[in-house]
């Protein structure tokens, strides 16, 4: 088994003054390379918290996390930045594009932080073509529809050829038709490139398209194996 994500006993506690909120309490899961996984669960169950930790945007309070064979807990800030840059592509619900910059510049951003000097333009353009936006590269986010903006965000996520693409409710801000197109695009990327895909969603129809659904409730993974199909 080639595991790309290995999480054991993950806990995340938010301290808000006196009150402690336990967003994750001992979550354990594994994801194989090339797998498409949907994470589902009620609102407030800890899905986003889990995703942020998986994407190395946040550190767990305790527990082990091995990403692509590397234990994350011991890494310093710069090493974490490198992981976010090379290994993970994150797609947000609210797109998070830099509004002043063109689609091309937005997609180029991870390459710049990768220290990539040559053929950045070329790679960014290819990523945009891969999401079907080859004809919109000089548009700014304000000149694009919501679906197109999310496509730019996906292009940005895959431009560095990461091991995993993580999407936290990528269709949450889109209508259902456009949402389906975005999911189709993500699934296609998985098929074409073999990129591991983790999608958080409330939409059962999207869950159906995944190879496996991981249910999270009250900060715990309900069933270690999920509904493997």
């Amino acid at each position: 088994m080639d595991l790309v994500v290995e999480v054991k006993d993950l806990r995340k506690v938010y301290k808000m003054g006196e009150v402690e909120v336990e967003a994750l309490c001992g979550a354990t899961l594994t994801i194989q390379r090339g797998e498409v996984v949907a994470i589902m669960g009620p609102s407030g169950s800890g899905k986003s918290t889990m995703m942020n930790i998986l994407g190395c945007l946040d550190r767990p309070t305790s527990g082990d996390y091995i990403l692509d064979g590397q234990s994350v807990a011991t890494l310093n800030d710069d090493q974490l930045a490198a992981i976010r840059n090379h290994k993970v592509g994150f797609v947000f619900q609210s797109f998070n594009l830099l509004s002043r910059q063109t689609a091309l510049s937005n997609v180029e951003l991870p390459l710049r932080y990768a220290g990539q000097m040559s053929n950045r333009r070329q790679r960014a353009r290819e990523a945009l073509e891969a999401v079907g936006l080859g004809d919109r590269i000089t548009h700014r986010p304000t000149e694009l529809s919501g679906g197109q903006q999310q496509r730019v965000a996906i292009a940005r996520a895959i431009v560095n050829d990461p091991a995993i693409v993580m999407a936290d409710e990528p269709t949450g801000n889109l209508d259902s038709k456009v949402g389906r197109e975005i999911i189709a695009l993500l699934l296609n990327l998985n098929k074409q490139r073999g990129t591991t895909l983790i999608i958080v969603t409330h939409d059962a129809a999207i869950g159906q398209q995944a190879q496996r659904i991981i249910h999270i409730r009250d900060g715990m993974v309900e069933d270690l194996n999920g509904d493997r199909k």
Partner: protein, 410 residues
Amino acid sequence: MNLLQLLLEALESLNSNKMRSGLTVLGIVIGVAAVIAMMAVGNGAQASILGSINGVGTNLLFVFSGARNNAAVKNPRPITMTDANAMMDLYAAPDIKAVAPVLQGNAIADFGGNTKTTTVIGVTPDYYPVRNISLLDGEFINQSNQLGRASVAVIGVDVADALFNRRDGLVGETIRIANSPFRIVGVLTPAGGSSFGSQDNEVLVPITTAQARLITRPTPDAVDTVYVEATDFSTVGAASDEISQILRTRHRTQVGLDDFTVFTQQSILSTVQNVTGVLTIFLGGIAAISLLVGGIGIMNIMLVSVTERTREIGLRKALGARKRDILIQFLVESSLLSLIGGIIGILFGWLIAFVVGRIATATGNNFTPVVGMDAILLATLFSAAVGLFFGIYPANRAAGLEPVEALRYE
């Protein structure tokens, strides 16, 4: 990331809020311009004053009767022609080249109904080389004028203008000074508008004539000042000692109770240099405060910008930006602000200095503000330092944000 890219991105970011960036830059512009202009004016004043002192001649010493800073000296003996002649002793005073005693007073000069109140100076022929006199026309007072107590005069251009309304063809004319007729033998070259050491409203006559007819002193042989020219710039100190020695012997003064004062150009020069130096530093200091205020403006703007762009910072970190990438991004922005401000400020300060110089010239003051390389360097370094210093805190704050926290920020 390469520097060009960083600069372009910073420019773009600053450009996206033109008004705010512009006002911040303005703060630096005013600060830097003030530093440049103030230092230029200070340096110009110094150069102008030093210039007029140097114009008098740096080999020059002045000898007066009376003691400065010593109240114990009562009834000082006047310095006389004989004292002055004693200074020409080659053995007692080898470092003295020439001696020019003068007697000075005010008198009314008139010609054909025109009158002019002027300074009459009784001089010896050596006054000409010692004071570096130059003549517009005619000749200077010579030895035979001196011996014969001749009624001849060399006049300044102000006197010429007042009495004749012209400056040429005056040699041979006869004017009256204190109601005695004097024949004009020469006209002095105008010294310019400077009030310091102006020779334009003067009438020079032989010192013997002045003693006999124009300026009477209780001691008939007395003179007011003796100008002494040292053999060289470097022997001024030795010459000063020799003069003191000669006068002490002749006046039989007690030890430490000299009844005369020897002034050198150098002592005046260093005093003036001190005063104008302090003036320049003072002006520069005031200007530096405004630069500091400009710097605080930069910090304020950068802090606002960091807060406003928290999400952007979070996103950049999520995409793999390291702490130092964010730090550099914000430092480049703040440095760019102050650099642009600095450049415009230097040009603007230069312009102000130029205008001040023009106004000074137009109002007849011989004064040119000097924009020195040191001022430009100082202003540039200072404004860059301001940008960095006041940028570091906001930039650090931006760089230290946790990616999730920053992304969650609304």
